[in-house]
């Protein structure tokens, strides 16, 4: 499987994602420069974390106009797998590939720590190897992860099984104290209706090897390998 990791000016988790795809999974991986339009025949496109364009204006607001995002939009519309992590999630929201928007964390602090995530749906190619309700330990590192959507959009997300991860306690309970940023419905990750585009604030690429404290994030990448082929 060929992974393409988009590099925007200010991306800083691109090498981590590349490392997981290439060296942990042992799959093919390439960097995709934001000014290029070709996705080089990749099966999966990763929009990595970081601070694209310095997060000026709004997080992800400028990156969404990069030439490569046109191709990512077409790829996603054709069913191609796209995963946006942290800043990548923010870019997907700004690009309208996922619904909603990010607000500053409720307590206005940059939050950088391991959190627990409950897997809310296993129907996506990113969570096929997880058990429903399984709790994963994966770190977050962000200042703008307070997911917002109006009531109608939240109802749509629920009705179409688009909430993929929720922040929870170690035991899998939804509690305000387990929500690191005040995000609506404890949302940590959502997908589009078809399930081929995932956005998540936590960093699975930083939790893909036991020596780094947790390998729970690896399940997301391994699920992709195990899923029936998507578009390319």
């Amino acid at each position: 499987m060929k992974f393409g990791i988009v590099v925007f000016p200010g991306s800083n988790c691109d090498h981590d994602a590349y490392h997981v795809a290439k060296h942990v999974l042992g799959e093919e991986a390439v960097f995709l420069w934001h000014k290029d339009e070709s996705l080089q025949g990749c099966d999966v496109v990763i929009l990595p974390g970081g601070f694209s364009y310095g997060d000026y204006l709004r997080t992800g607001a400028i990156a969404r106009f990069s030439p490569i995002m046109k191709s990512v939009g077409r790829f996603a519309a054709d069913g191609g797998r796209v995963i946006g992590i942290c800043n990548g999630f923010q870019i997907l929201l700004e690009a309208g590939l996922l619904p909603g928007a990010m607000l500053k964390n409720e307590r206005l602090k940059f939050v950088c720590r391991h959190v627990h995530l409950r897997v809310e749906t296993c129907r996506t190619p990113f969570t096929g190897l997880c058990a429903p309700g399984e709790v994963l330990s994966i770190p977050v590192a962000h200042h703008d992860g307070n997911y917002f959507a109006d009531a109608a959009t939240l109802a749509e997300l629920k009705a179409h099984d688009q909430i993929v991860f929720r922040y929870c306690t170690e035991a899998g309970l939804l509690r305000a104290e387990a929500n690191p940023n005040g995000s609506a419905e404890h949302i940590a990750g959502i997908c589009n209706r078809a399930g081929n585009v995932l956005g998540m604030m936590p960093h699975p690429e930083r939790a893909a090897e036991a020596m780094l404290g947790s390998a729970d994030g690896l399940k997301i990448f391994q699920s992709l390998l195990a899923a029936p082929a998507g578009a390319r």
Binding site: L57, R58, A61, L93, G100, K104, F148, A149, D150, G182
Partner: protein, 82 residues
């Protein structure tokens, strides 16, 4: 010509920064201030000879597509002769 664009959070969207400012204002003794909502302000310089209709059209499009995330924000703008 100058365009002044004001971007504000929609009603009902949580504004943690505004809330913090409001608390600070209150702690300074200004008890009259019930709420603070923080927004953004942009000035766009345009050539003096651009027609007002065209300027409005351009500024409106820029405000909608770039300066504002319409999921959470509203905008308004005014044009000013130099």
């Amino acid at each position: 010509m100058r365009a002044k664009v004001y971007v504000t959070l929609k009603r009902g969207v949580l504004d943690p920064q505004g809330k913090t400012v409001q608390r600070a204002v209150k702690s300074l003794g200004f008890k009259e201030v019930l709420e603070v909502r923080q927004g953004k302000y942009f000035e766009l310089a345009l050539p003096d000879d651009v027609a007002a209709d065209r300027a409005r059209q351009v500024v409106e499009e820029i405000a909608r597509t770039v300066l504002t995330n319409t999921v959470i924000e509203d905008f308004r703008f005014e044009l000013e002769e130099a």
